[in-house]
């Protein structure tokens, strides 16, 4: 990659940060670049992540990575919290399959779990949309009002 390209990429990174974009993808003849602002666990957080680049760029990519700007803060995950007091169940019945798993896309109306209180099974809706990133509570454990159940990307 030429210095001019690196300068362009740095500008893109700055713009992404400024406008709180998490993903930027570009494809031009012979060149495809995807920049993703890191969330936790991503070793290359804040660094450039060239997906498929011409061989010339590949050899200079690591240098570009080390010359990357300071790490960008990860996008905070949304939380689904308990609206009641009861026992948390991931499925409708003991041998049933869970309503959601990590990676499942949900909308506001998606039932994500059951909270049982006084022998009444209450279906809990996501009330937000996104992808399940984390299941915070263990199946069958008691939950209190306001307790985090799921984290959503």
């Amino acid at each position: 990659m030429e210095p001019k390209d690196i300068k362009e990429i740095k500008t893109i990174i700055d713009l992404m940060k400024k406008n709180e974009l998490s993903v930027f993808e570009i494809e031009k003849e012979g060149f495809r670049l995807k920049l993703q602002r890191g969330s936790s666990g991503q070793a290359a957080a804040g660094a450039l992540l060239p997906i498929a680049v011409p061989s010339k760029a590949a050899t200079t990519a690591p240098e570009a990575a080390s010359a990357s700007p300071k790490p960008i803060e990860s996008v905070p995950l949304k939380e689904i919290v308990s609206p009641m007091v009861g026992t948390f169940y991931r499925a409708a019945s003991p041998d049933g399959s869970p309503f959601v798993d990590v990676g499942k896309t949900v909308t506001e109306e998606t039932v994500v779990c059951i909270i049982e209180a006084m022998k009444v099974m209450n279906e809990i809706k996501a009330e937000t949309s996104g992808v399940i990133a984390e299941i915070v509570v263990e199946n069958g454990k008691p939950v209190q009002f306001g307790q985090v159940l799921f984290r959503i990307r």
Partner: protein
């Protein structure tokens, strides 16, 4: 005995209940709102469950969530404290049907005494004197006028579903009765969802004297004397003392006997209080019964040498009345001052906020029941009571002087409190002489002669 108790309350009374449970070796589960996350009682409880957002209607009054927490926590009993659901017969019923012991009377006894008009009828039935008034609910304006003519003005219009000083109106003559009758019903409908009212003769500047009763589930009931709660501001008690300065042994005998008769007639169990008005001629009249532990139970404890909350728990667990309670006799005098987060210099405006520094008095004969501490934020969602200070003395004047001494050490900054107001009352001649009635605070405040007295110390914060 219970293994685990859920405390369905907050603030100082939740702490009081937890202390009693800890001393009895009972595990505790505190339920709390989001505003009470940092509350002392939540930290001291063995377990705690958040049951909702700050407003009481979204947390402390949510029966379903409290029962859910009771189920998860696998508790044997629930102590409702005072206020909130403590006198809610439906809540007591729900506990009964869930096989969780409600620490208090049965829902039926609660119901019988909760309806203020029905309680009056029960009193009349067993020959306990009631304030002259209507024989029941007053349906029409013309009925009200007829009754008022008979019993004589001034009269009080009281909401049957009211109580605790709420839902009352005074009329001094027929024209004012006409408008007061309708507005009282309207207010009652809004406040209690029940517009039923009854009439009572207004007794001018009476003493408010209440009797503490305790009954076990084996038919044994005793009274533990009286408390004088005449020092009130806008029908809310601010200072209580035990015994009452106007009591005589024979009056105590008569009133105690009446209190027991009434409570027995509804099969009352556990702790309860029968409230009377006593006029200038020492005639007493039943006004209402409180089917719960009261804020001022503390002064009875100090004078009669007992722990009423522990006794409540023992009774609920099926034990007979403790020997020392069954044979308790009064020794000493006790006074309680309710310390509120209010500014006495600004018409007692509530002062929620962060307590920057808190230092409570100590020494012989001083008891503090409080949940607050340095750095604690008094929330705006609940009542303003932040502490009760109780002093005990060999004589009434000893107890008053001890209170005066202790209030001078009670150092609270960050918010205004009523400490300086109480300090002034302890120095007031009429109060010290025991010459007061329910009109006392009103008179003393409007005379403008009450100089608030702040603690003379300045502590390093």
């Amino acid at each position: 005995m219970f293994e685990k108790v859920l405390v369905a309350n907050r603030g100082e009374i939740a702490l009081r209940v937890i202390r009693a449970c800890k001393e009895l070796g009972i595990r505790t589960l505190a339920v709390y709102s989001e505003a009470d996350v940092d509350s002392l009682h939540v930290q001291l409880a063995d377990e705690s469950i958040c049951i909702g957002a700050a407003p009481s209607t979204e947390s402390y009054l949510k029966i379903d969530r409290i029962m859910s927490a009771a189920e998860i926590g696998d508790v044997d009993a629930i102590h409702p404290g005072y206020g909130f659901l403590a006198e809610n017969p439906h809540f007591a019923e729900v506990c009964e049907s869930c096989n969780i012991k409600f620490i208090g009377p049965s829902s039926q006894a609660m119901q019988a005494m909760g309806d203020k008009n029905a309680a009056r009828a029960a009193a009349r039935k067993v020959g306990v004197p009631v304030t002259p008034g209507s024989d029941g609910i007053v349906e029409t304006e013309s009925d009200a006028i007829k009754i008022a003519k008979k019993i004589g003005y001034p009269v009080m219009i009281k909401a049957s579903a009211g109580g605790g000083g709420r839902g009352m109106r005074v009329a001094h003559n027929e024209p004012s009765l006409q408008s007061a009758f309708h507005s009282a019903r309207h207010e009652a409908e809004k406040a209690f969802a029940n517009d039923q009212v009854y009439l009572e003769k207004l007794i001018i500047n009476p003493h408010h004297v209440e009797f503490q009763i305790v009954a076990d589930s084996h038919g044994h009931m005793v009274h533990l004397g009286e408390r004088d709660c005449s020092i009130q501001r806008r029908n809310q008690k601010v200072i209580e003392e035990c015994p009452s300065p106007l009591m005589t042994p024979s009056l105590r005998k008569k009133m105690g006997h009446a209190a027991l008769k009434l409570a027995k007639s509804v099969g009352y169990e556990n702790a309860g209080t029968i409230e009377f008005l006593v006029d200038q001629d020492r005639h007493f009249y039943f006004i209402e019964m409180n089917t719960r532990i009261q804020v001022e139970h503390t002064i009875t404890e100090e004078v009669y040498g007992c722990d009423l909350v522990k006794e409540q728990i023992r009774i609920a667990a099926g034990e007979p009345l403790s020997e020392h309670v069954a044979h308790a006799t009064p020794r000493l005098h006790a006074i309680e001052c309710r310390i509120n987060a209010e500014d006495p210099a600004k018409d007692f405006r509530p002062t929620p906020g962060r307590i920057e520094f808190y230092y409570a008095p100590g020494g012989r004969g001083v008891r503090i029941d409080s949940h607050v501490y340095t750095g604690y934020s008094v929330p705006s969602y609940y009542d303003s009571l932040i502490a009760k200070i109780i002093t005990v003395g060999a004589t009434r004047i000893n107890a008053i002087d001890r209170m005066r001494r202790a209030l001078d050490e009670y150092y609270i900054t960050g918010i205004k409190t009523t400490v300086p107001f109480h300090a002034a009352i302890m120095r007031n001649g009429e109060f010290r002489a025991g010459n007061y009635d329910t009109g006392f605070i009103e008179r003393v405040m409007s005379s403008g002669k009450l100089d608030l007295i702040s603690p003379p110390i300045r502590l390093h914060e």
